[in-house]
């Protein structure tokens, strides 16, 4: 991810607004009017006072009274429409952005999401989208208002005497001083935020581990630690808070100072006879009431850096090129129920990594056979399956399904031929039924039930509070690793693909669970082509062919008996994998 300049990011964000430009412009326009009307209440009010003294102004007393009241009445509604339109734009764009992100990840997945950090990417992106709202709803309009309204006031003050404009300009700029110093406290702010989340995490840790703390008699020490950390954070955050107080105090001083400076210079102009008492009153009151938009502006900028950082992450994700590209003009074909699979001289290394995960890989798999690929961890076993599913494309060589290069047909065709059950089964935050139906949305309730029975999970599901309609993860439905794998099997059964890929499907399970799941698999998938990948010899039950993979290439191949006689890598593996200690 290369660093992009803030200006470029900002332009790109603004570019996103262009389709909604009319709404955004209306929002800005109404915002300016609304803020001007707030100033105008005071300006007309001061004219009312001056007019009441009997001084002849451009407008009669009654008209000024009317204008004061009118300005007061429109202020509220103008603000309403400004905010409404601004947020309308923002929420439309956020919605669009979420769609785009999902679309981008769809293209990039699984290559992009397969590794462990995927969870991080996901949570960051979620938070990032929220940050962008700050720009659309709370930056564009306030900045425009913060420029236009003060400028208008400066012009108005200049009609009395240009000096007023210059004096006000100086004080306006003083109000914006925090924009410059904000840079220096940003580090403190970051430290504070880091410290803040650290202490929250620590507190959370102490609560979640309370059972252990009590058992080991360490709870009171921990409490002292919580207090000490809290004190440290308080000291750090005090600094930041003082800065905030300083900014607030500074802008208040600017308002009063600016008003006083205008008042005294007006007094001088009055003394010279350039303006009347009405001019003194109007100019002073105008000056005093014109700082609002600028104060709002100086308070705004702290968040903006976060927003840009967040947008940068989002844009770099949207810009990323997918690794696997669908063959143009690929059209679906009729599914073959007994496909054969061939890897021909495959070479592959993960993007950005030098070492090859697969080298000179040749695999031939006949229809309806059971193949087990074993090998030490890091030997490239899972990669073999991922290449077949086209999570990545091979660097060299070909993979054929039914004699056709897997790059030819559409991805959906390829994947409808296969099902994968992997170590970490992902279950969606939805009902059990919906989770099983992921394998086939058109499946009927009966079909779901049949699949569950075959996967030996139906009885368990019936004990749940709402049976198949129980939501996964809801209280009373926390599934064990074994139950999750059984649901994954039901899902695979209902998908009913001719090829079943098992990627360490039972590696997370204890002895009893593994035994019973292997039994189910052997029984229920007996008329399918199965490719099993595992580092565990126990999973090769009933395999017709065992392939031993080491450093990305097949080093041994044959039936169980053949390999045992050979005294090679396979026997070595078995020796280490033997696992049958029990209580002495």
């Amino acid at each position: 991810m290369h660093k992009q300049p803030a200006v470029k990011i900002m332009l790109r964000l603004l570019h996103m607004v262009t389709p909604l430009a009319p709404t955004m412009l209306a929002c800005i326009f109404l915002g300016i009017l609304g803020n001007l009307s707030a100033v105008l209440i005071m300006v007309f009010g001061s004219m009312v006072v001056a007019s009441a003294l009997g001084i002849q102004l451009a407008l009669p007393f009654k008209a000024l009274v009317g204008l004061t009241l009118a300005a007061a009445l429109v202020r509220g509604p103008l603000g309403y429409f400004e905010q409404l339109m601004g947020h309308d734009v923002a929420f439309r764009l956020l919605s669009l952005m979420r769609e785009k992100i999902f679309g981008a990840l769809r293209r990039l997945a699984p290559a992009k999401l397969i590794d462990k950090r995927s969870g991080d990417i996901v949570t960051t992106i979620m938070g990032d989208v929220e940050y962008v709202e700050v720009f659309f709803a709370h930056t564009i309009a306030p900045v425009s208002i913060g420029i236009v309204v003060p400028l208008t006031v400066l012009i108005f003050a200049g009609t009395f005497w240009y000096g007023f404009s210059l004096i006000l300009l100086v004080f306006y700029l003083c109000t914006l001083i925090p924009l410059y110093i904000a840079r220096h406290v940003r580090a403190t702010g970051r430290n504070y935020h880091a410290g803040f989340s650290a202490i929250n995490t620590h507190f959370l840790d102490s609560l979640q581990g309370l059972r252990e703390l009590i058992m080991f008699g360490r709870a009171e020490d921990r409490q002292k630690e919580i207090r000490r950390k809290g004190q440290e954070l308080t000291d750090a955050s005090r600094k930041l808070r003082r800065y905030e107080g300083f900014v607030m105090a500074l802008s208040e001083s600017c308002i009063l100072g600016g008003t006083a400076a205008v008042l005294f210079s007006a007094l001088y102009r009055l003394h010279l006879g350039d303006i009347g008492i009405d001019g003194v009153i109007i100019v002073t009151v105008t000056a005093a009431s014109s700082f609002g938009p600028l104060v709002a502006l100086s308070a705004l900028t702290n968040d903006l850096m976060h927003t840009f950082a967040a947008s940068e992450r989002i844009f770099s994700l949207l810009d990323e090129k997918p690794l696997v590209i669908e063959h143009p003009g690929a059209h679906s074909r009729v599914r073959h129920n007994t496909p054969d699979i061939n890897y021909n001289n495959v070479l592959f290394s993960y993007p950005g990594k030098d070492e090859s995960v697969c080298r000179d890989l040749d695999i031939a798999i006949k229809p309806n056979t059971k193949t087990a690929i074993v090998g030490p961890s890091g030997s490239g076993k899972s990669t073999v399956l991922r290449l077949l599913l086209r999570f990545w494309d091979v660097d060299h060589g070909e993979i054929f399904l039914n004699g056709e290069n897997i790059k030819e047909p559409p991805l959906s065709y390829l994947r409808s031929n296969m099902t994968m059950v992997s170590q970490d089964t992902y279950l969606f935050n939805d009902t059990i039924e919906a989770n099983i139906k992921t394998g086939n949305p058109a499946a009927t309730t009966e079909e779901v039930e049949t699949a569950s029975r075959r996967a030996n999970i139906h009885d368990f599901i019936m004990t749940l509070p709402n049976g198949y309609q129980t939501r996964v993860g809801e209280s009373g439905c926390r599934l064990s690793a074994g139950e999750r794998q059984r649901i994954a099997i039901a899902r695979a059964l209902i998908h009913d693909a001719p090829v079943i890929l098992l990627d360490e499907a039972t590696s997370n399970l204890d002895t009893l669970n593994e035994g019973s799941i292997l039994k189910t698999i052997a029984h229920e998938f007996k008329d399918k082509t199965i490719i099993t990948v595992s580092h565990r010899p126990s999973t090769i039950v009933g395999a017709d062919t065992i392939m031993v993979l080491d450093e990305g290439t097949i080093v041994e191949q044959g039936t169980y008996g053949e390999l045992m006689n050979r005294n090679g890598t396979f026997r070595q593996l078995l020796k280490h994998g033997r696992a049958d200690a029990s209580l002495q």
Binding site: R98, F216, G217, G230, Y426, S475, H495, E514, G515, S582
Partner: protein, 589 residues
């Protein structure tokens, strides 16, 4: 408005800071009044034409003083508001934590920790804003209009009255809008969380979606949900904006009316120019404090909601009643490090209705290895919890070396008894930090020895930083099996006299499972051990096996005796043996 007496009583220490915040704000209001009066007087003098340089100098001096005074006051207000928030945060966390310690394990077992955690962490955050900003602002917005009223009434009673009477319109209208809002709000936050959750879910399961070619459907659903959410947001926003617009119309409108009335009075000559200018400048200040309060309204509501959860927690009564302080004489200066446990007619229920254990009699003899087996839900883990006194039995008693465990101080009991549950908690920090939890004074040699005994030393030694390796939050840089082995090493360092392993390998893969059973077997040679397991092959060699079914001990004896008796145990053994055989025989045939 939103003040809650009980809530206010929470913040004893914060009270003085809240008072100070309010006082500083009021002083600032006075400074504002003085400043406006000064400016108005000077303008009046300019108007009448009787002014000299001394008037200008005096006004300038006063304004300069006020700038400095207000500057300091703003800093002080800020500081005081910060302090009141900080006190609340510290105090509440302390109270919650102390309460949980008092409530003891029983509460943690019954309640989902997640709920406590949200109450504690989110609630404290919300209350911080409530005490730091909302409460001071609320008091101030009650007092400020009164002060201004007194000031204005000396000028023009009519204007003063109109402005004062208009003030309550703002909270009244907000409350009216909020009532309407409740319907709109209904489930908005649920909606928000639902969309976030759905998005997250879709991304985390994206690989699965792709495998089953379901990603396109999912994108469509996501679009719909996202759009529906946007609409819900806009509805809510419209409602919130409406309350702001009402507030603004009242505030600006009434201020303008005040100004206009002042204009008429000035024209009639009933008030002076300076008085008219004072009204012009200060009319809006009647309403400003309430407008600011309105922007904290959300924090106020959240604070109240959060406090309810916290109060519910703080009002909990501990389950245990008996807290002895003295270690019974028989347990002091023991030479023999073995303990025995006897259950005498123990009955227990979590909720008072559904019995978990009924009339249980069992004995863990000193130095023996005893196993407790049975299907899940049979009450096995409850036995462990009762021995460590996470809760007390409803009927019967539990004896440790012949002494009722209720007579043993809790901390002493837990030095004697150590439980390794099926998912032990690992704290953020290093491996050594976690080990030292078992024994603060453990040396590196001790720790390595414990790791060896727990079958964890190979892994520790393979790490570049060894014992000082960071394990991540909740130990998430370790696998389930590694976490469990670390927990066993930690328990070994605790050097208890009785070890209870409660399904210590139920979430662990086979490789780790075997290592852990090896470690337990080693420990059982020289410690009294109670093993709770559903995998029978692991407890075949126990001195006594108790079989639990629906809260009753249905069988007990040695493995050989039980298998012959052809009862529950024998049936379970047969079932499991088949599975274990299935795994091995086919391969190693």
């Amino acid at each position: 408005m939103i003040v809650n007496k009980k809530l206010f009583s929470l913040a004893q220490e914060s009270r003085s800071w809240i008072t100070r915040t309010v006082v500083y704000k009021i002083l600032k209001l006075f400074a504002n009044i003085v400043q406006v009066v000064c400016i108005a007087r000077l303008i009046e003098k300019l108007y009448t034409g009787v002014w000299g340089p001394q008037d200008v100098i005096l006004t300038a001096a006063v304004i300069a003083c006020i700038i400095i005074f207000k500057f300091i006051l703003t800093l002080l207000t800020n500081e005081a508001s910060f302090n009141s928030a900080t006190h609340v945060r510290r105090h509440l966390r302390d109270m919650i934590y102390a309460k949980l310690l008092e409530l003891e394990m029983g509460y943690l077992e019954k309640t989902q920790t997640a709920h406590i955690v949200t109450a504690a962490v989110d609630g404290v955050e919300a209350l911080q804003i409530y005490f730091g900003r909302y409460l001071p602002q609320m008091f101030y917005s009650l007092i400020a209009p009164l002060i201004l009223f007194i000031c204005f009434s000396t000028i023009h009673l009519g204007v003063a009255l109109i402005l004062l009477l208009a003030v309550p319109l703002i909270p009244a209208s907000i409350i009216a809008v909020m009532k309407w809002a409740k319907r709109v709000m209904g489930g908005y936050w649920d909606n928000y969380e639902a969309l976030g959750g759905f998005f997250l879910d879709s991304l985390q399961g994206l690989t699965t979606l792709k495998i089953f070619v379901r990603d396109e459907d999912r994108e469509e659903t996501l679009k719909e949900k996202s759009w529906a959410f946007r609409n819900a947001t806009m509805r809510l926003l419209r409602m919130q904006l409406t309350s702001i617009v009402i507030m603004d119309v009242i505030a600006y409108g009434c201020a303008a009316i005040g100004i206009v009335l002042a204009g008429f009075a000035l024209a009639k000559g009933t008030i002076s120019l300076s008085q008219a200018i004072i009204i012009l400048f200060l009319a809006a200040d009647f309403f400003l404090p309430l407008r600011t309060l309105g922007s904290y309204y959300h924090a106020g509501v959240n604070g109240i909601a959060a406090s309810e959860k916290i109060f519910a927690l703080l009002e909990q009564k501990p389950d245990l009643t008996c807290f002895p302080r003295e270690v019974p004489a028989a347990l002091q200066n023991r030479q023999d490090r073995h303990v025995s446990i006897t259950f005498e007619n123990v009955g227990f229920s979590y909720d008072g209705t559904r019995p978990i254990l009924q009339n249980v009699n069992l004995t863990v003899e000193a130095g023996h290895t005893v196993a407790l087996v049975g299907e899940s839900g049979s009450g096995k883990s409850t036995v462990a919890g009762l021995i460590a006194r996470f809760f007390d039995p409803d009927q019967g008693s539990i004896m440790l070396n012949g002494i009722d465990i209720k007579e043993i101080p809790l901390e002493h009991l837990r030095k004697l008894v150590s439980i390794v549950p099926h998912s032990s908690y690992i704290f953020a920090g290093t491996i050594a930090d976690n080990l030292r939890l078992g024994n603060t004074g453990a040396t590196e040699a001790h720790m390595l020895e414990a790791c060896r005994a727990a079958g964890f030393d190979d892994f520790v030694q393979s790490l570049p930083h060894g014992l000082d390796t960071d394990v991540g939050e909740q130990g998430n840089k370790l696998s389930g099996g590694q976490r469990q082995r670390l927990a066993i090493a930690r328990a070994l360092l605790h050097d208890a006299d009785l070890y209870i392993f409660d399904e210590a390998t139920s979430n662990v893969d086979i490789e780790n499972e075997n290592k852990i059973w090896g470690a337990i077997a080693e420990l059982a040679k020289h410690k009294t051990t109670l093993i709770i397991s559903h995998r029978l092959a692991t407890v075949e060699n126990a001195d006594t096996i108790y079989v639990l079914k629906d809260g009753n001990v249905v069988e007990s004896g040695r493995h050989a005796e039980l298998t012959q008796s052809n009862g529950t145990y024998a049936k379970l053994v047969k079932q499991q043996a088949e599975l274990e055989r299935y795994q091995k025989e086919t391969v190693y045939a």
